[in-house]
């Protein structure tokens, strides 16, 4: 048999035609080069972006603090008995005075030298009012005692220490005076000045003082919204996709729905904000600035993404699996829920997480429903005013102060961190649930 074929081939095979092998290789190499160039440019931009954000923002994670012995004097705070009876006095007490006195004593400044005292006290953040009050309210027994406390430095001190000021310009043109610089050196030599990890960046709410401003409220607001989006968009989106893909008859009407869903995915997000403003706030009367409304708007925005991803995942399940189940006498519902859906799950989860990540970074629609608000207190429920991470970034980006510039980048790093976490989760889920068939 094989002999026959070998001898069957004519010996004098015709000369090979030139079909341009060299050209083909050249085209292939060219194409590869284009691809590599494109990817290199992409990576370059990514590096530039990350570099600019990280180089500006990493300092935001450190905050200058001053180690000051504070005397919680009874003159200022009242006696512990008084405090136990009524907290009003404690709430209103002059805590900055305590801080000022502590620092003045530490630096050995004459308490009657007004200029020196005010220069020194400007190094302390006005956030000490809350900081010291919380210490006292936590433990009334400190009244009358002296305790070493790490006080927040003011944003000027912080910026000066981080080298963000040009110190060569004349004294009156910079936010920090020569006297203050002397104090800083003195504090440094005493070991009372330190850059400590800035937990406040994660826990504080809005503040006009950079050193006590944080993304705490924004993180909680974003978290509420993500939960709302997940709780609403995932079941609605998956149910709609299953119906459209597996049950709905294929006709003009379902075609129309399909086209519309695809178009919805391309609608600019600000339009969804307008819709949310008109429907949820003006019509349903839901509160402005509430995470609930933000969540609902983002749900609308995320739905098309989830529906499209889910339908693609359902369609990718080989039809032979459906036949196998149907052929065994499984009903349509059993087939879908026991066989098709589990196989589509990784795709659905990935789509959902990508949708959520999109929603997490969305700003424009939130501006329209009033989530650009100065919210200092944690929202206790999704009905309370809140902000969101990207909105907080937007608001800080509008602040002129040097300390807010680094905080803007710091908040961007936090946002990027959350996004990276979500994408990693998507990859992990995909690996975990992916099955061969």
């Amino acid at each position: 048999m094989s002999d026959a074929t070998v001898t069957g081939v004519p010996d004098a095979s015709p000369a090979r035609r030139d079909i341009g092998i060299k050209k083909r290789y050249a085209a292939e190499r060219r194409f590869k080069a284009y691809g590599i160039t494109a990817i290199a440019i992409g990576i370059l931009f990514l590096i530039a972006l990350l570099w600019s954000v990280f180089s500006k923002g990493y300092t935001a994670f450190w905050q200058t603090e001053i180690h000051v012995p504070i005397t919680f004097s009874e003159q200022v705070l009242g006696t512990p008995q008084q405090a136990a009876e009524s907290q009003t006095k404690l709430m209103m007490a002059n805590y900055p005075q305590l801080a000022r006195e502590g620092l003045v004593q530490l630096l050995g400044i004459d308490p009657d030298d007004k200029a020196a005292v005010s220069a020194a006290s400007a190094l302390i953040s006005s956030g000490v009012r809350v900081q010291l009050r919380d210490i006292v309210l936590n433990d009334l027994s400190v009244i009358g005692q002296t305790q070493d406390v790490w006080l927040f430095g003011s944003s000027e001190l912080d910026s000066a220490l981080k080298g963000q000021y040009d110190l060569t310009v004349p004294e009156n043109r910079r936010p920090i005076s020569d006297l203050q610089l002397q104090y800083i050196d003195k504090l440094k030599s005493m070991g009372a000045l330190e850059q400590r990890f800035n937990w406040g960046l994660f826990t504080f709410g809005a503040s006009s003082r950079a050193e006590t401003a944080g993304v705490g409220v924004a993180i909680i607001g974003s978290l509420y919204m993500m939960l709302i989006v997940l709780a609403l968009a995932l079941p609605i989106g998956v149910a709609a996709s299953i119906y459209l893909e597996e049950f709905a008859p294929k006709n003009k009407f379902t075609d129309l729905i399909e086209v519309n869903i695809n178009n919805l995915a391309a609608v600019p997000s600000i339009v969804f904000g307008l819709l949310g403003l008109a429907v949820f706030i003006n019509w349903f009367g839901l509160p402005r600035s509430a995470a609930l409304v933000g969540g609902l708007v983002l749900t609308l925005m995320t739905l098309p993404t989830i529906i499209i991803a889910t339908r693609a995942a359902l369609r990718a399940v080989p039809p032979s699996i459906r036949w196998a189940a149907l052929g065994l006498g499984a009903s349509k519902t059993q087939t879908v829920f026991q066989h098709v859906l589990p196989l589509a799950a990784p795709g659905i989860l990935t789509g959902t997480i990508i949708g959520l990540a999109q929603a997490l970074g969305e700003t424009a629609p939130l501006l329209l429903i009033g989530m650009v608000a100065f919210v200092a207190d944690y929202p206790a429920s999704p009905m309370d005013p809140a902000t969101a991470l990207p909105v907080q970034i937007y608001m800080w980006a509008n602040e002129a102060e040097r300390a807010f510039v680094e905080r803007t980048s710091g908040a961007i790093i936090i946002l990027l961190g959350f996004l990276a976490l979500m994408n990693l989760t998507a990859i992990f889920l995909r690996r975990r649930f992916e099955r061969r068939w």
């Binding site: 699996i321 196998a324 149907l326 052929g327 065994l328 006498g329 059993q334 196989l343 099955r435 068939w437």
Partner: protein
């Protein structure tokens, strides 16, 4: 394909063809895919506990006809079935018939092995579970083991029932699919080219299996292999361009067909 070859392979089982009652009867069955007609009025009796082979050139409607018998065509958009098909004299397209129940009585094995991406045990147990055939775990265990045994697979897999069914070889997968089909205790098993993805050895195993299953089940098998039809079937039906060209005892079909198209096809002149 040589006539003598095929005759040599004919299944010389007990010549009982005439005695068997009809299990499924088709009267003037037509199928349309949209505007296109795929079957033009098929009249065919499937005898009980026999293997009926459907042969014919590609695209002549064998699979289409097979899918009519368990109403799998219902799941295809735009597919319309006309005429009448009965199972034990009951019209299976009657509105009072529940397709789920019908498919439990008329099982199907597909061309490409399609085990669920679950364990071997779960693959076989799925049918009995959804049809409530087992009252408890022990009964289910027994059904699974018996089905695997009958499909000739138990020996190979009994130590790894919890491994994925997709990890088996092609031939094993196909036998797993057969085990899965018989676990539901159907009356009729439809097989659409069950061996086309298998090597000769796996094919031989499956063919032996079919021959054994004939004792308890009515089998309808689509095949492109004349030898296979000759080896396993007692009745052969020849389809051609949506028509039933000829049907008769396999022996007669391969030795002395009445229809010119059958003759041409089995001697390899077209198809």
């Amino acid at each position: 394909m040589q006539m003598e070859n095929i005759q040599a392979t004919l299944n010389k089982g007990p010549a009982v063809q005439a005695a068997k009652p009809t299990k499924m009867r088709s009267e003037n069955v037509t199928v349309h895919y949209g505007a296109k007609q795929a079957l033009n009025g098929i009249n065919l009796d499937v005898p009980e506990r026999q293997v009926t082979a459907l042969i014919g050139p590609s695209g002549c409607g064998k699979s289409t006809y097979l899918r009519c018998l368990n109403r799998m065509n219902d799941t295809i958009d735009g597919c319309k079935v006309g005429g009448k098909i009965t199972l034990d004299n009951e019209d299976i397209y009657d509105p009072s018939i529940d397709v789920v129940e019908l498919r439990a009585r008329v099982g199907m094995v597909f061309q490409k092995p399609n085990p669920f991406p679950k364990s071997i045990f779960e693959n076989v147990a799925y049918g009995p579970k959804i049809h409530g055939l087992a009252r408890n775990k022990n009964e289910l265990d027994e059904i699974v083991h018996r089905s695997l045994e009958r499909a000739g697979l138990l020996k190979e897999v009994k130590d790894r029932l919890d491994e994925p069914g997709t990890g088996l070889s092609g031939g094993q997968q196909q036998r797993l699919c057969i085990a899965r089909a018989i676990a539901v205790s159907p009356e009729v098993i439809l097989m659409d080219e069950p061996c086309s993805a298998l090597d000769p050895i796996a094919t031989a195993t499956v063919e032996e299996l079919i021959d054994e299953l004939r004792e308890n089940f009515t089998i309808v098998i689509v095949t492109h292999s004349m030898q296979q039809a000759a080896r396993v079937s007692q009745v052969t039906a020849m389809f051609h361009l949506g028509d039933l060209a000829e049907v008769g005892p396999t022996e007669k079909m391969f030795s002395n067909p009445d229809d010119k198209r059958t003759q041409d096809y089995i001697t390899g002149r077209f198809g």
